[in-house]
Symmetry: C2
Subunit: 132 residues, 2 copies
C-alpha cells in the first residue's frame, strides 16, 4: 500500500490546468473522464518531482457537485523553490495572487499564493544570505 497522489476538487478544469502548468510549471500527465460521476480528472507533476497532483471536476448533475466551500482539512500544497522572493515576483507577474508575502523561519524562506479556487500554495526554499 503506498500513497500515490492528492486529489483536489476544481470548479473549472481548463482554468486550473492552465494555472498549474503555465504558472506553477507542472506537466499534464493525463486527463480523462470519470465513468461513475460524469466528471473529469487530470494528473499533474513537476518535472523534477515524483509527487502527483490530481484535479477533479464534477458536473452539476453529479451528487459530488456540492457547493464549493472553503474547509480546514487541506492546509496547503507545497512547492520547493530555489529563491522564494524572485519566484513570488515571477508568479505574480503571471497572474497569481499572493496570500502571504515572504518571511523567514529557522533557516527557511516562505511565501504563499492562491490557486484559482483559493487553495493556498506554499513556496518554500532555504534562506538565502543577501549581500550587505
Amino acid at each position: 500500500m503506498k500513497f500515490t497522489y492528492t486529489g483536489i476538487r476544481v470548479r473549472n478544469m481548463d482554468a486550473s490546468i492552465r494555472f498549474y502548468t503555465q504558472v506553477m510549471g507542472m506537466k499534464l500527465v493525463l486527463r480523462e473522464r470519470m465513468e461513475a460521476t460524469g466528471g473529469e480528472f487530470a494528473h499533474l507533476k513537476s518535472p523534477a518531482s515524483a509527487q502527483r497532483l490530481e484535479l477533479n471536476w464534477y458536473p452539476e448533475t453529479s451528487p459530488y457537485c456540492t457547493p464549493y466551500s472553503e474547509g480546514a482539512e487541506l492546509d496547503h500544497l507545497a512547492f520547493w523553490v530555489r529563491d522564494v522572493d524572485s519566484t513570488l515576483r515571477d508568479l505574480k507577474g503571471k497572474g497569481a495572487q499572493a496570500a502571504v508575502e515572504p518571511f523567514s523561519e529557522t533557516g527557511y524562506r516562505l511565501a504563499f499564493v492562491k490557486d484559482p479556487d483559493g487553495i493556498w500554495i506554499e513556496l518554500i526554499g532555504r534562506e538565502r544570505r543577501r549581500r550587505p
Copy 2:
C-alpha cells in the same frame, strides 16, 4: 520549482500519526515545532513511494486554529494497493471507517475510508479477476 508535499490540517497530532502509520502503513519522517504559529508539523511517506504527506497542528492560541470545518477543496488522498477488497477488510479490522464499499470502474477497483478528521482516503488498484 517542484511540488514536494501536501499539507493537511489535523486536530490531534498523536491520533493522526497513529492512524497514518499503524493503519495506512506510512513511516514518520520528521516531527517538529513551528516557530511562527506555536504549532507542530510532521512528514510521512509510504516505504515504496516518494509522495509525502504533511500533518499540521495548531494550538488554540494560534490565528490558524480556525474551526475545523469540512470543505470542498480536498477531494481525497489516494493509496495504491494490490487488492482493494482485502485491504479494506484489513483496514476496517484496524479501526478505519469505510466511506464507500468496493466498486469497479474501467479496469480499476476502488473503495474509500476516512482518516481521524473525516478526510476521504481512496484505495485504488487494478481489477482482479475472480475465479468463477
